[in-house]
C-alpha cells in the first residue's frame, strides 16, 4: 500500500470529498496505519471442549501409560552385582555407561544408540504411512502434556463455555484465585516432569532423598528448573503453537503419508451441503453436517477439519468423538468425520468398494528396514562379548632398532572387562617369535601372561615386543594379540602389525 492508494469507505471512493468548508479531503494515509500493519499475529486462545468417546478414551489410556513409563521407569531396580548400579535404566555420565535392563553399553558402542534412533525414526515412518499422524495425536510428549494441562484447566475453570466467559470477565478475586490455582498446579506438574528427568541420570532413590533434603547438586537443580520451565511454557502457554510453528514433524508428513494413509477426514460426499436442520425435516437433498461446529470446539489445535487436510491437524480424533456424539443425537449414522484415506474418498466418489491397503511398497520397505536394523542389533547384542581388546601400535617412532640389531615395536593395549566382576585374563601373542616382551610397569614377562582387570573397567598397558634380527623378514608382518578369559573360554583377538623397516 502507498500514498496513491485510493481511500475507500464501504467501497465508495472518498477522493475529492469535502472535509469541511473549503477543505478537500486528500487520499493520503499513513503508511504504518494499523490496518496495513499485520506483520505478526497474537495467539488466538483455544478453549477445547471436553468430548467423550472412543478416541478420547484411547487418549486417556495412552496418556496414563506414557506418563507412567516416564515417571516410574527410573524406579525399576535391576540387580547387576555389587560393582554396578542397581537401576534398570540409567545413563551414567560420570562413569560413561548406559544401562538398559540386561543391556549395558559403553561409549565405544555408541552405534547401539544410533541403531535405536534409526529404529525409532523408521518405526515412526511405518506408523505414519499406515495410520497417519498417530504419533502426533496420541504419543507425542507435547500432545500428552498439553492434554494433561488442558485437563487441569478444565478441572479448575470449567468446560469451554465457562473458560471463555472467565477469560472475558473482568479481574476479580474469584478469577484471580482460579488462575493462580491453575498455574500453581501447572508448575507442580512441570517441576515433577523436570524432576523425573534427572532420575534417568542418577540413582533415583538416592537422588530423591537428596532432593528432599535439598542436597542435590547445582547441575541437578538447573536441569530440573530448565525442564520445568520448558514444560510449563510449552504445555501450558504455547500448546498448539509448538506443533504449528516449531515442530518439523508436520512439515515432513507429506513425505511419510500417501493417499492410502489414514487421516482424520471429513467426508464431504456425505456431509455437504451442510446447514442447520429442523427436527423432523427431511434429510433428502442435503448433507448430514448440521454445521453445529462441535468439531471445531473440540479441536485442541483450533482448526476446522471440514476445511480438509491441513498442517495443523494432529489426527487426535477428538473431532470424531464430538461429531459422532452429535450424529447419534440427531439419529444419523456415525462416521461423518472418521479416520479414512484419500483413496477411499476417491473410491466413494466413483462408487467403488472402499478398503484399507496396509501392505504397500512403502510400508513393506519401512518394515524391511526395521527388521534388518533390529535383526543386526539383536544379533550384535547377543554376540556382545564381555571381554574386549584394542591394540594401538606406536607410530612414533615406527620401530626401534636396538644395539644388537634386534627390532622393538611398542603397542598400547586396552583390556576391557565388561562383566560386573573382576576377572583375570590371559594375554598371548602370535605371528612371530618375540625375543622379549616387556610390559611397562611389570618388566619382562613370559607369555602367556595373566592380567587382572577390575569389574566393568578398562586396563591400559604399554607392551614392548622385541624380535631378534634373524626372527623377522623385514618390512611389516601381521601379528595377533589375544585376550582370553580362562574360566569362561571367551576370547578376543586383535590384529596388529610388527614393523621392522626396510623391505622384506
Amino acid at each position: 500500500m502507498n500514498a496513491h492508494t485510493q481511500f475507500t469507505v464501504n467501497g465508495v471512493p472518498k477522493h475529492g470529498a469535502v472535509a469541511a468548508e473549503g477543505v478537500l479531503r486528500s487520499d493520503a494515509r499513513a503508511t504504518n496505519s494499523a490496518a496495513d500493519r499485520k506483520f505478526y499475529q497474537a495467539r488466538i486462545p483455544i478453549h477445547p471442549k471436553r468430548v467423550h468417546g472412543t478416541y478420547r478414551r484411547i487418549k486417556w489410556a495412552v496418556m496414563a501409560v506414557t506418563l507412567a513409563i516416564y515417571y516410574l521407569v527410573p524406579w525399576i531396580r535391576w540387580e547387576r552385582g555389587p560393582q554396578a548400579p542397581g537401576q534398570a535404566v540409567l545413563v551414567d555420565l560420570a562413569h560413561e555407561r548406559f544401562y538398559f535392563f540386561f543391556i549395558e553399553i559403553w561409549p565405544q558402542e555408541i552405534y547401539y544408540i544410533t541403531g535405536l534412533l534409526i529404529l525409532a525414526a523408521v518405526s515412526l515412518f511405518l506408523v505414519t504411512s499406515l495410520f497417519g499422524r498417530l504419533w502426533c495425536g496420541y504419543a507425542c510428549p507435547q500432545t500428552v502434556w498439553t492434554d494433561l494441562f488442558i485437563y487441569v484447566e478444565t478441572l479448575i475453570e470449567g468446560d469451554r463455555g465457562a473458560r471463555i466467559r472467565l477469560a472475558a470477565a473482568p479481574w476479580s478475586g474469584g478469577k484471580i484465585a482460579k488462575r493462580v490455582l491453575k498455574h500453581a498446579i501447572w508448575i507442580v506438574i512441570a517441576v515433577a516432569t523436570g524432576g523425573a528427568w534427572v532420575f534417568y541420570f542418577v540413582d533415583a532413590p538416592t537422588l530423591a532423598a537428596q532432593l528432599l533434603t535439598g542436597g542435590g547438586s547445582l547441575v541437578i537443580y538447573a536441569a530440573i528448573a530448565t525442564l520445568a520451565s520448558t514444560t510449563y511454557a510449552l504445555g501450558g502457554l504455547m500448546r498448539e503453537q509448538v506443533c504449528t510453528y516449531m515442530c518439523p514433524w508436520p512439515r515432513i508428513q507429506g513425505a511419510m503419508t500417501d493417499k492410502e494413509a489414514l487421516a482424520v477426514t471429513y467426508r464431504t460426499d456425505r456431509g455437504e451441503p451442510r446447514g442447520a436442520h429442523k427436527k423432523g425435516a427431511n434429510w433428502e437433498g442435503r448433507g448430514d453436517c448440521i454445521d453445529c461446529n462441535q468439531c471445531i470446539a473440540a479441536c485442541p489445535m483450533g482448526i476446522d477439519i471440514r476445511d480438509g487436510a491441513q498442517l495443523e491437524c494432529i489426527n487426535c480424533g477428538l473431532c470424531i468423538d464430538a461429531c459422532d456424539d452429535v450424529m447419534t443425537r440427531i439419529g444419523r449414522p456415525a462416521g461423518l468425520i472418521a479416520y479414512d484415506t484419500d483413496a477411499n474418498a476417491a473410491r466413494r466418489k466413483r462408487g467403488e468398494e472402499t478398503g484399507f491397503r496396509l501392505v504397500r511398497p512403502r510400508t513393506i520397505l519401512y518394515g524391511a528396514v526395521i527388521l534388518i536394523v533390529g535383526g543386526v542389533m539383536a544379533a550384535s547384542l547377543a554376540n556382545r562379548r564381555t571381554v574386549d581388546l584394542d591394540v594401538l601400535r606406536d607410530r612414533n617412532p615406527d620401530f626401534v632398532t636396538l644395539a644388537d640389531g634386534a627390532v622393538r615395536n611398542g603397542y598400547t593395549l586396552k583390556l576391557m572387562n565388561r562383566a560386573d566382576a573382576p576377572r583375570t585374563f590371559r594375554l598371548d601373542f602370535a605371528g612371530l617369535k618375540p625375543r622379549a616382551v616387556n610390559i611397562i610397569g611389570m618388566g619382562d614377562v613370559r607369555l602367556p601372561v595373566a592380567l587382572g582387570v577390575g569389574a566393568d573397567k578398562v586396563r591400559t598397558l604399554r607392551v614392548l615386543v622385541t624380535a631378534a634380527r634373524g626372527g623377522i623378514g623385514g618390512g611389516s608382518q601381521p601379528v595377533v594379540f589375544s585376550l582370553s578369559d580362562t574360566t569362561q573360554g571367551e576370547r578376543r583377538d586383535a590384529n596388529a602389525v610388527f614393523v621392522s623397516g626396510g623391505t622384506p
Binding site: Y40, A403, G410
Partner: protein, 290 residues
C-alpha cells in the same frame, strides 16, 4: 504493487504479497507474535551483554563490561587451580627418590604425564616428538646410551647438558682428524675400514690390519681398545648397530674427518628439579631405561 486490492489466496484464504513467480504466489502469513517477542528478547539480551561483558573495541582497547569478565583471567585462574591441584604430587615428586617413583603407580603416572608434556615442549624439537632422534640427535627409545641410561644418568644429562654452557656439563670432544690434519687421508680411509670391520661387516682386511695400530694410538683412549665405547667420555660403542651419524662408510669417514659433536643445552636453570625428574622418568620409561 500499487493497487489497493487485497490478494487472497483461494486455497488457504491467506493474503498474498501479490508477488508471483511462474504462477506461484507468495503468501503473506503473519508471524506469530511470540516469535517476534523472542526476537526482541534476543535484541535486549544483546544490549545487556554489551553492558555486562567485554563487547566493543575502542581506540585504546575495549569496553570491559560491568562483570569485568576476561577469558585471559579465566585461563590464568584455571592454570593456577591446576597448579594448586598438582602441588601435592609435585611436592612428592620433589622429595621422592627416583627409584621410589618407579614403584609408586600414582606418582609414576603423574611423572610420566608431566614428563610427556615437558618433553613435547622442550626436547621434541631435536629428539623428535616420539623421542626417535635423527641424524646427529640420539634416539631415546633404544637401549644405546652415550652417557648412561639409568634414571640418575638421564637426570644428570638433562640437568647439565652436553657440551653446554653449564660449568658441570658433560664434555667430550671427538677430534677432527682430517680437517685438523691430525691424520693423513689414507690413514683415515684405513680407519674407516677398521670401524666398519668392528661392527662385524665385510671390510678390506688389508686396510683393517694397517689401521689396528692407528686405532690403538688415536681412538682407543676414548672408544676403548675393543671399540666398545666408554660412557665416562660419552664415547659411542663402535661395535653395535646404532650409529648417531649414520652407519655407511661415507658417514664414518666424515665423522673421523670432521669430528662432529652435538650440543645439548643445560636445563638445570630452566626447568624445575621436579620437571627434570619427571623428564628422566618419562625418557627412562620409553623402553630403553636401564
Amino acid at each position: 504493487m500499487s493497487d489497493d486490492k487485497k490478494h487472497i489466496d483461494a486455497v488457504t484464504a491467506t493474503e498474498t504479497t501479490g508477488h508471483s513467480w511462474d504462477g506461484i504466489e507468495e503468501l503473506n502469513t503473519p508471524l506469530p507474535r511470540w516469535w517476534l517477542f523472542v526476537f526482541y528478547a534476543c535484541i535486549l539480551w544483546a544490549v545487556g551483554y554489551w553492558v555486562l561483558m567485554p563487547a566493543w573495541p575502542t581506540f585504546s582497547g575495549y569496553t570491559h563490561g560491568l562483570l569485568n569478565h576476561s577469558q585471559r583471567d579465566d585461563a590464568a585462574a584455571g592454570v593456577r587451580a591446576l597448579q594448586a591441584a598438582r602441588t601435592g604430587q609435585e611436592q612428592q615428586l620433589a622429595h621422592a627418590d627416583l627409584k621410589r617413583i618407579l614403584h609408586d603407580p600414582d606418582l609414576l603416572q603423574f611423572a610420566q604425564a608431566e614428563g610427556r608434556a615437558a618433553f613435547a615442549d622442550n626436547c621434541a624439537p631435536c629428539h623428535g616428538s616420539g623421542a626417535q632422534g635423527a641424524h646427529g640427535y640420539p634416539n631415546l627409545n633404544d637401549d644405546v646410551w652415550l652417557w648412561g641410561g639409568t634414571l640418575g644418568d638421564i637426570q644428570h644429562t638433562i640437568t647439565v647438558g652436553v657440551r653446554s654452557t653449564d660449568p658441570g656439563t658433560r664434555q667430550s670432544q671427538m677430534p677432527a682428524f682430517g680437517r685438523d690434519a691430525l691424520l693423513k687421508p689414507a690413514q683415515i680411509d684405513d680407519l674407516t675400514e677398521f670401524v666398519v670391520h668392528l661392527s662385524h661387516r665385510p671390510a678390506d682386511l688389508a686396510a683393517v690390519g694397517r689401521a689396528a695400530k692407528l686405532f690403538a694410538d688415536n681412538c682407543a683412549a676414548c672408544h676403548g681398545p675393543a671399540g666398545k665405547g666408554d660412557r665416562a667420555f660419552g664415547a659411542p660403542n663402535l661395535t653395535d648397530n646404532e650409529w648417531l651419524y649414520g652407519p655407511a662408510r661415507e658417514n664414518i669417514h666424515d665423522q673421523i674427518w670432521n669430528g662432529h659433536g652435538g650440543v645439548m643445552p643445560t636445563w638445570g636453570g630452566r626447568l624445575s628439579p621436579e620437571t627434570i625428574k619427571a623428564l628422566a622418568v618419562y625418557v627412562h620409561g620409553l623402553g630403553g631405561g636401564e
